[in-house]
């Protein structure tokens, strides 16, 4: 990881290594500030509550993809599968069993985690292309299923009439979405902290080792398959929770949650914000959603054109270079730099 210690003695080497590993896991004042500001946003912009809620949900969803794509290097074009599964399981659970939102989220997380665990076996083998196809295929299969099982999901009309009880039996979901905004944000914060602990742990570092050089990871005794299975499961259940929150705050589930655009947009967001960096997903979600609402207001139909152009420019200028302009060095350090060499 760090080659700077090669000249000094062993203990010093270990010391600096430890310090550099711990450096990333300390909570900084800027982070604290960020979250405080985020939570004050609904008060500052009262008319944008639903938008804020949506951004928080998207950020959580992006966080989930970041674990898979940014930290473990698995290219997935079908992450909407878990998101959509979460949306439908939360909506159906609320409709037929229990309207309590938090209980609903737990169910969501478990169900999506299970789905992710099953799907994780499909991404262990093969090349990037195979993984791309398999992840995409899973999302498409779920889309077909949701479309065909209209007695349960409402098919292409969407699932309507989902009533959600008050959060913690106290805070009702109101029409303006004040509760929704805070609820989504709290859930996002919770999972964000969880992910933060996760990627700062030794286990989190094994993810990056696998991403950067899978062969070497195997050689030094990292149980590659096991780690990948667990990270995929965790990411799937986080994506499911994001979907669950969406279903609960909007009281609606429709087929477009499985759509290819959603997976592609998500990937784009993450890339705009920076992969392999937890705040990248948040930054990307904020930028993307604001851009989307601004540009769609001007030319609703041709939003795709601008986003396409943005993608092409982004890739050609170089993701890493853009990241370098905005990223404070201390947050990121040497460890996050994505290696361009695979296998």
């Amino acid at each position: 990881m760090d080659s700077q210690g090669t000249h000094s003695s062993n203990s010093k080497d270990l010391d600096s290594l430890q310090r550099s590993l711990h450096k990333n896991s300390k909570i900084k004042i800027t982070e604290l500030l960020f979250w405080v500001v985020a939570f004050l946003m609904p008060l500052a912009l009262p008319s944008h509550d639903m938008m804020i809620s949506e951004i928080a949900i998207t950020a959580l969803f992006a966080l989930s993809l970041d674990l898979v794509l940014g930290y473990s290097g698995i290219v997935s074009l079908g992450h909407a599968a878990f998101f959509g599964f979460g949306v439908y399981s939360a909506a159906l659970f609320a409709k037929f069993f229990n309207a309590d939102p938090l209980l609903g989220l737990v169910v969501c997380a478990v169900l999506c985690g299970f789905l992710g665990w099953m799907c994780s076996f499909t991404i262990l083998r093969g090349s990037d292309l195979t993984r791309l196809m398999v992840t995409l295929g899973v999302a498409l299969i779920l889309l077909e299923l949701a479309n065909q099982m209209d007695w349960l999901t409402g098919g292409s009309d969407g699932l309507q009439g989902v009533l959600i009880g008050p959060v913690l039996r106290r805070f009702e979901f109101d029409l303006e979405g004040r509760t929704a905004a805070w609820y989504s944000m709290s859930i996002a914060l919770l999972f964000f902290m969880f992910a933060r602990v996760l990627v700062g742990s030794p286990w989190g570092y094994t993810l990056r080792v696998i991403r950067d050089n899978r062969l070497r990871a195997m050689a030094i005794g990292v149980p590659v398959s096991k780690v990948l299975i667990s990270v995929y499961t965790i990411a799937a259940s986080i994506a499911g929770v994001a979907g669950g929150v969406l279903a609960q705050t909007t009281g609606f589930a429709s087929l477009d949650v499985f759509a290819f655009d959603r997976s592609a947009d998500l990937m784009l967001m993450l890339v705009i914000g920076g992969v392999g960096w937890l705040y990248g997903g948040i930054a990307g979600a904020v930028i993307f959603k604001i851009l989307q609402s601004e540009l769609s207001a001007v030319t609703p139909q041709y939003w795709m054109f601008w986003i396409g152009l943005l993608l092409i420019i982004l890739v050609h200028v170089g993701r890493d270079r853009i990241k370098g302009w905005f990223m404070p060095k201390g947050l990121f350090g040497k460890l996050g730099e994505q290696s361009e060499v695979r296998k």
Binding site: G126, D128, M133, L140, E144, Q148, M304
Partner: protein
């Protein structure tokens, strides 16, 4: 039943022509190009415009569609694709999704969001029937033409790749660009030509399929998954692999839609995932790379 088989084969052949360019860029040049469908759409729109506005005969439209797509392909290869050959797959995916998105919005802007249909010439509209009742083989002349053209193309492509000097230059450039250029092969030119032919073939496929596939602005995204299935299932090391995969997909899709319309794409996608799990490098590849 034979008719369904026949339609499936025609559809599969069409998919093959559409996807073979992708098989080349993806398999030989190792570039994940999700914007491949955009070239096919271009070919389709060319045909539609030429036939509707200028009354150009259908058969003449095919080479024109090929040329237009090939020229655009080579321009894009020079300017946008080439710098990305050695980048990680993620960059290539992002870039080509961006290109596909732009083509969708652009087509929407220029041509409107409706579906475009073409009026086939009379001699293509007929239908020949052979055989007795349970085994009737109804062959639409249009589909017969598709099969014919595709069969010829396959033979030409396969022999170009294996028998000609250009084929060996291409294979050499792919295996090791550095050594190939050291031997005096102009690697950039070889790639440029290959890419142009690949996109041209997509355009040709789009033109041929304008009637069956119905050209509309979301074409690149709608059929992207099919192209990718053909290439990933067929394996990327030969021409015959994608051909067989395309035929399999075409027959499975047509038969699936005929016999169990409710399950639709479900069968195709499940089949793809199972095949990829069983053989991640594709069904017909010669071992792993």
């Amino acid at each position: 039943m034979l008719t369904i088989l026949f339609d499936g084969v025609a559809y599969g052949m069409l998919l093959f022509v559409l996807a073979v360019g992708l098989a080349v860029t993806l398999g030989l040049m190792n570039f994940i190009n999700l914007a491949h469908g955009a070239f096919a759409m271009l070919g389709g729109y060319c045909t539609v415009l030429l036939m509707q506005r200028l009354d150009v005969p259908f058969l003449l439209c095919l080479p024109i569609a090929f040329l237009v797509s090939a020229i655009l392909g080579s321009i894009l290869e020079r300017t946008l694709y080439r710098p990305l050959y050695n980048r990680p797959h993620l960059d290539q995916v992002l870039f080509s999704i961006g290109l596909a998105f732009m083509s969708v919005a652009g087509a929407d802007y220029l041509m409107g969001s409706g579906q475009q249909n073409i009026q086939l010439p009379l001699w293509l509209k007929g239908r020949t029937e052979l055989g007795e009742d349970p085994w009737t083989l109804g062959m639409g002349h249009y589909r017969l033409l598709i099969i014919l053209i595709c069969a010829v193309l396959t033979v030409v492509l396969q022999s170009t790749l294996t028998k000609t000097r250009f084929g060996s230059q291409l294979r050499a450039s792919v295996d090791d660009p550095v050594v190939a250029s050291g031997l005096g092969i102009n690697v950039n030119k070889v790639f440029l030509l290959t890419f142009a032919v690949g996109s041209g073939l997509a355009g040709l496929g789009g033109a041929l399929g304008a009637e069956v596939l119905s050209i509309d602005p979301i074409f690149p995204l709608k059929y992207m998954i099919y192209f990718l299935i053909v290439v990933s299932v067929g394996g990327t090391s030969s021409i015959t692999g994608p051909l067989l995969a395309a035929l399999l997909l075409g027959i499975a899709d047509v038969a699936g839609k005929y016999y169990v319309p409710k399950l639709g794409g479900f069968i195709v996608y499940s089949l793809m995932i199972m095949i990829l799990l069983w053989r991640p490098q594709g069904l017909f590849s010669r071992g792993s790379k």
